[in-house]
Amino acid sequence: MPIRKDSREKGQSDGVDWEAVYAGYLPRVYNYFRYLVGVQAVAEDLTATVFEKAWRRRDRYRSDVGAFSTWLFTVAKNVARDYFRHRRQEVPLEWARSLADPDPVEEVVAEREERDRLAALLARLPDRERELIALKYGAGLTNREIARLSGLSETNVGTILHRTVQRLREEWEEQDER
């Protein structure tokens, strides 16, 4: 779709203020990937890929077709899909450490410990459940937005998220009891 002539100002296309988009969506896309892959460096790489692609393809966004967040996170989902397709056999070092070392050394601060524990629990989730958790808690999308992106019904999204959080909570508590 061609960009409207009156919106070809710096950082704008189809009425989108890209400077504002960058400021607002960078943390959400970045956290989507953090929840999905669990590793900061990888999350940064994937986030960069999303924004580079979105910027290059900015003429394809049509505000009359859907919300900008849906378009941007569709790009993010495709980037994630490509990442997992090519890297499925590789285990990120931070994950491996979390999984292999359930009792971190004493000097590791409690916050880091909890972060690693959660990363390890997320890593064990099935792909679909981890994806929904990443969209909900990492990207901060509503169940309705997630439904549009995933093709699931809003009710289904809510149900799966509820069960997944319950499962995470149970596993977390099981580890506490050990």
Binding site: S13, Y22, F51, W55
Partner: protein
């Protein structure tokens, strides 16, 4: 552990990462965005089935062994017709021609797909065919069309390059994942698409074979 804990795991991106990325992205000067290869990618979804004929090209006047036509409807309206012709040579199946007709304005627009004899059995059912052409040609070609089945696809799965086919500027699209290729060009208002299964016919051979077809039959001059 509560929902809140899951939210609290969020982090602010490192400022240096955010700044470097922002500088890199917005380095591109303002103006029209870059279009990869200056082309627009669309997908036409195809469904096969049965009945009749339309013989308009010299090739189609050759003996037709089998002809089927599928009318595709959506919401009670005709969304397109798909015609499959199996041509014969010396009494044996020699070539399959597919014609995809879209309702456009008062009439129909035809897209013809040629399958070299050893390119496999044609498009598998329900597998989308890519139509790719410069946007200005596309807009002209589909002017008045009620709708075009169109879907964004991941560019990572495709490699696209322009090639010469008997002095025609054509586009060769290779789907590395599905290992097939599509050679397409537009001439006299008709989009020509040649499909090849790369397991059976190398991409360069697809071009050479298409050139031979054009030289022998002159289809592209219609």
């Amino acid at each position: 552990m509560s929902d809140e804990f899951l939210y609290e795991w969020r982090q602010t991106p490192r400022p240096e990462f955010a700044e470097v990325l922002k500088e890199r992205i917005f380095r591109e000067p303002p103006g029209p965005p870059r279009r990869p290869h200056g082309i627009h990618i669309s997908l036409l979804t195809l469904l096969l089935v049965a009945i009749i004929v339309a013989c308009t090209t010299p090739q189609i006047r050759t003996p037709v062994l089998q002809a089927t036509e599928t009318v595709i409807t959506e919401g009670g309206k005709v969304a397109g017709r798909f015609i499959q012709l199996v041509l014969t040579r010396d009494g044996k199946p020699a070539e399959t021609v597919y014609i995809w007709r879209l309702p456009c304005g008062e009439g129909e627009q035809s897209i013809r797909l040629y399958f070299p004899p050893d390119a496999g059995e044609g498009p598998p059912r329900r597998v989308p065919i890519v139509l790719i052409m410069p946007e200005e040609q596309r807009e002209q070609f589909f002017k008045g069309c009620e709708r075009l089945l169109s879907l964004e696809i991941s560019e990572e799965e495709l490699t696209v390059r322009f090639v010469e086919v008997s002095d025609r500027r054509a586009t060769l699209i290779v789907n590395e994942k599905e290992h097939n290729a599509l050679l397409t060009w537009v001439e006299n208002g008709i989009a020509y698409l040649v499909f090849g299964d790369l397991d059976q016919i190398p991409r360069e051979e697809l071009i050479r074979r298409t050139e031979r077809i054009l030289l022998q039959g002159g289809r592209g001059d219609e």
